[in-house]
Symmetry: D2
Subunit: 415 residues, 4 copies
Amino acid sequence: MSPSFVSPWAVYQALRQRTLKLTEALSAEDQAVQSMPNASPAKWHLAHTTWFFEAVVLTAHAKGYQVFDLAFHYLFNSYYESLGERQPRDQRGLLTRPSLTQIHAYRAHVDAAMEKWLNTDGPSADAVSLFELGLHHEQQHQELLVTDMLHALSRNPLLPDWGLKLIPQTASESLTTSANTDAAISTGWRHFAGGVVAVGHGGEGFAFDNETPRHQVLLRPYALADRLVSCGEYLAFMLAGAYERPEYWLSEGWSRVKSEGWTQPIYWHAADDGDEKDWQVFGLQGLQKLDPEAPVTHLSFFEAAAFAAWAGARLPTEFEWENAAALAPDLPQLFGAAWQWTRSSYDPYPGFAPLSGAVAEYNGKFMVGQLVLRGSSAYTPTEPMPHARISYRNFFSADSRWQCTGLRLAKDSMQ
Amino acid sequence: MSPSFVSPWAVYQALRQRTLKLTEALSAEDQAVQSMPNASPAKWHLAHTTWFFEAVVLTAHAKGYQVFDLAFHYLFNSYYESLGERQPRDQRGLLTRPSLTQIHAYRAHVDAAMEKWLNTDGPSADAVSLFELGLHHEQQHQELLVTDMLHALSRNPLLPDWGLKLIPQTASESLTTSANTDAAISTGWRHFAGGVVAVGHGGEGFAFDNETPRHQVLLRPYALADRLVSCGEYLAFMLAGAYERPEYWLSEGWSRVKSEGWTQPIYWHAADDGDEKDWQVFGLQGLQKLDPEAPVTHLSFFEAAAFAAWAGARLPTEFEWENAAALAPDLPQLFGAAWQWTRSSYDPYPGFAPLSGAVAEYNGKFMVGQLVLRGSSAYTPTEPMPHARISYRNFFSADSRWQCTGLRLAKDSMQ
Amino acid sequence: MSPSFVSPWAVYQALRQRTLKLTEALSAEDQAVQSMPNASPAKWHLAHTTWFFEAVVLTAHAKGYQVFDLAFHYLFNSYYESLGERQPRDQRGLLTRPSLTQIHAYRAHVDAAMEKWLNTDGPSADAVSLFELGLHHEQQHQELLVTDMLHALSRNPLLPDWGLKLIPQTASESLTTSANTDAAISTGWRHFAGGVVAVGHGGEGFAFDNETPRHQVLLRPYALADRLVSCGEYLAFMLAGAYERPEYWLSEGWSRVKSEGWTQPIYWHAADDGDEKDWQVFGLQGLQKLDPEAPVTHLSFFEAAAFAAWAGARLPTEFEWENAAALAPDLPQLFGAAWQWTRSSYDPYPGFAPLSGAVAEYNGKFMVGQLVLRGSSAYTPTEPMPHARISYRNFFSADSRWQCTGLRLAKDSMQ
Amino acid sequence: MSPSFVSPWAVYQALRQRTLKLTEALSAEDQAVQSMPNASPAKWHLAHTTWFFEAVVLTAHAKGYQVFDLAFHYLFNSYYESLGERQPRDQRGLLTRPSLTQIHAYRAHVDAAMEKWLNTDGPSADAVSLFELGLHHEQQHQELLVTDMLHALSRNPLLPDWGLKLIPQTASESLTTSANTDAAISTGWRHFAGGVVAVGHGGEGFAFDNETPRHQVLLRPYALADRLVSCGEYLAFMLAGAYERPEYWLSEGWSRVKSEGWTQPIYWHAADDGDEKDWQVFGLQGLQKLDPEAPVTHLSFFEAAAFAAWAGARLPTEFEWENAAALAPDLPQLFGAAWQWTRSSYDPYPGFAPLSGAVAEYNGKFMVGQLVLRGSSAYTPTEPMPHARISYRNFFSADSRWQCTGLRLAKDSMQ
């Protein structure tokens, strides 16, 4: 496995501790709330990631493992039909029992068994693959824990300051370019020649099944913006009537604007002084003054695509993004700022085959009706091993607004 | 005020402590959950009852009172339009902040101010009326806290044992008659002559506005069962096909049976052994074996009315109930076992006038589309002053199943 | 039966022809549309009233009767569980087949059988009761056909002029008093002493089961307005902020105002000139200038009750209304102008027993969650026999706005 | 324009007459019904296609054209934001007025104006493009008229026989291969080498904007079945537990199976004799015995994909299909049997640009969240000019079941 210079147990331990660390400033109450059907309570994330190791690794591969509590297999299975019935997704907020304390005990129980299994039992290669999947799985849930919790706090009229500091966020902030927001879109473009290029994961190291197989695609010459769209630019779009002019929107996007009363990004708040250039943004430190040079985040695909239409550009395809990231790895804000919506639907790659066993359900069964995002966000873990990579395919439905999602412009190139 | 032999402060203090005592065995997580739109989190009840004293009594009548937190007036107003905007009812479960600890501090703050006001300031008669209303208001919420929390626990797949012991419940259990459940309905009937009788509250002591004015109604001769319908009798109804035969049901009740898949009372669970006579009932001590002699509870009006139709009887009107309770106060299970559905819609009494000021909204604006219940339940407080009385009008919509509600049969009398 | 001076067949024939006459100006398309779940297509009314005679009278009582089409028993049963499965109520608009022509043939087939049965077979007394019920049933549907069709036309952006002329409507218009709309509510009051009075149907002639048994009730002294509330008065209420001020509304009524965006009666349209005193009203002759002296109609109970609260009065109980109608039958607009919302929930009378057989479901099973209306409207048939009477209990849910419903004010009397 | 050997007016006239011919056997009632939000009444199709010529061609390009009725621009605009407000899509069934007769008059009025314009005025090239778009637009609605009407009839409990005969249907039936349904999937495969191939429309003749620009894609070697999946094969899938086994389904597809109770294709009906191999299928001639050799139709993408998974194959991508159709135009059932679901999301082609003006909204704004279908169906018009072509991209959401949609299997090739 990739972080080969440290022991698997050390990696596991560091990663598991990071999950708990994310919840340090949260009360048991905070960790129990479910603010919408597709956001989960923080404590559910704590338990579900643990269940994954228990159900997929320990039960099958650790001789003599004693299940912590059989009922948890019902409570904390997410969507694995082959692993039995489960608590309905929209009712995870009802689980005030087991208590947070019991879930911490569950984590400790599984961690102890994992330590023994990794350090003493000598797992098989197959089992190590599942173990590694469990690590990356928990990293995915680390980010979801943050976005789900942030959404819950955003629905609280008090708009509380979580006070969570994520190192990568600071790092990404340093990547902010000195955008000139006087011009509507003042962007430097990087040009790429296209042609037949290879995409997807094919080499060493971990990747999810949906990144495979590596294969060739044909690209036309294209250009990508050398940074993400900023809050200041998005504000200019809003002042130009963004949410009142259907011509920028996909049909279903416009329906959402009308039916849900969208007038701004989900976490933007108008200033008390009524100045239309004066906005606040809700985030991990509560309400903060909008920084016009920071990347705009927490946009739906619909908003991202409307912005691109207004700016006279377009979104890149996922392969344009991946090819650029391969050829120009210094391209700013590829990683660590915001997941970048692409104009690619989440379809299977040619020759795609799901994993075998229970984890066959991991990615493949969601491959319809969603859009691919590339890069990574300020919430994406980088420790104890990096989570993102250039072949990584994140995916959400086009109306999703609660993720740390932004956009990078693209256009055809005459090169 | 009624408990005149003790100081108002002593009554207040005892009552407030009882509220907290109800939550002792609950975690902060338990107290934050909202299991359906019309059930509220326990901590919301703790805060809302406190807000009532603050907003209705202290702010208006206690000179120099310092509001604990202005935001709480938005968060914990229930339905008082004249007291400003409020957190939507179905989003009370989002309030993980303020924390339970902060809400306890809120209670302490208001209690201290109330002590000063009651013991030092010398409140006016008008203010004392509002204070007294606040006491009875909190008693209402004590029962709602129990039923709302029980509902939340009932939705948890673990079906946890709350372990709450309510003294009156034990008392009511002792009231259980030795019903002979071999006969479908083996009831002793108490006969009443009817005629022009007075109903409603008219004398000394506290009453809600909806119990007034006292007035005369004309009753025909009638009879009431001398006890509530038992679980064993309700089971006989079920075995006779209750939930499959439309002829027993009101039209809207039958619609509910079909659309929501009702096959039994909400808290009944079929036995694991599959024996159709062997049931368990979920309650304050978790799952318990069904006691065929205990009063059946947690029924909707629709179920109560269907049972009565099957039994060849009917539900009493609210005035038949009240007249019987006046004439035969020893009638078993009048109080302390289960609220008793009547066949009376919740209409205003002739000459009804709401209170003045903000509390004008207390009862009157709900007087349509609901049914009156009489008596009191095993969850209704009896300390530090009795909450129920013979003129008391409880009310819920006909499909409500999460309250401690049962029925007593009635019939016309040939007397 | 009541119209004893003419033959049953002549009455039947006249009544059935009147039903068809109501649809003369409507196309087959018009008669097929269902504009909301609880409004039915006109052709469904034509067929359902025919099915009633077939299923309840002919099949059971006419020897040798040949059913027209067995499938119609599924298609045109309204809500009789004991008569089998039926087309879901909200899917009646799917029935483009059978065609209107086929339904006319169905009517002719049943009419021919009814003629033979009435004139030749010599029906039994029991059967005659069901026959008479069928007549009054069809009269009820004559009014529903008008209100359901009017609703469908009101939802058409063209706001078409139906052009239907109902004789009683003209008659009722002549009853319009010369209300002085300068004063908010300038009403003459008629005072009644109350006391123990008899209500309900008890004598000769037809009545529905829900009007029985005749019984005594106790009334306090009260006064009724000597006419209905007018459009001009309701407009004054609107100009006083009716739909923006929660204090006039029942809680559930206010919820409707907000959630459904009510700002005026359902069939009122603001004038093009923007003058807030200049309104149009949609009706049987399309859009017409609002007549300030005409009774306001097509109000929900919530709107009627809010108006009464604003006017410092209240709605009468159903028994106050009935007693007044008995003592002062010349009271204007008792009948023929608008159904009058009362402050009485639709509960069973003491001693109420439904009819036997299939028609047991006729009224009783709807006796919860609705309000009683008294009088009759401009759409209520008066030929070939009067439909309304002083004991008549009409009923709708409190949010119903598509019926011809208005209000008469009441107050307590110091008499 | 493509059918260059005949006059534009002759083509127009023939096409318009075909539309009317489709409705000949339907009553005005039939043509007014809307059976679900995304199906439109037949008369709406008649009017909307006429409106398209009026709004897009005549109003802009025919000097002196008199609009038939301005209100129709509100009533019959489908989704063109730039052309003003419109009747909500789910309320098209309320339009009993204008009557079918008036809509026929509307068609005649526009036809007369088109004749004058085409034969006398000498339209510009730009205008001719819009005219040609109008022709193909009306052909699209010819098919939708059939599928929408069929759906409405399928919801009628009488399951009426429309009696519509479409010549192509007969033709397609003759294409039915003699499938051996004893073997689960006994298919002949046609192999294709893949490589860099050109797709999309690029030559002469009409195409929709979504088929352009022609561009190159890279394909791996693949094989396509030489016919569509048959009803007999789909029945074998059902008998193997299709609708009870989640492992074959995409996650959202399985959710539909459960929440909507899918147990079979939408138009299949179990036989009265209860024999699980004995089915009937509803279609243009009412209920017909299932023909095991006929292509299975009216499947959702979810059902098609589940079948492919069960069969150990997959769906083709849209480019695999198009390349095969270019290389092997004799491949059976490419056209005229059923639209064929592909595994390609409906994304824009590289370099895609919508048309200019109002018709910019024609296709582009729907390019998210849908799947591409290729080929054509038994309902697709072939006269007066062919509607389908190998670059044609039809698209529907994955849950759509009311279109004439089936599937052809694909697999990777080792060639």
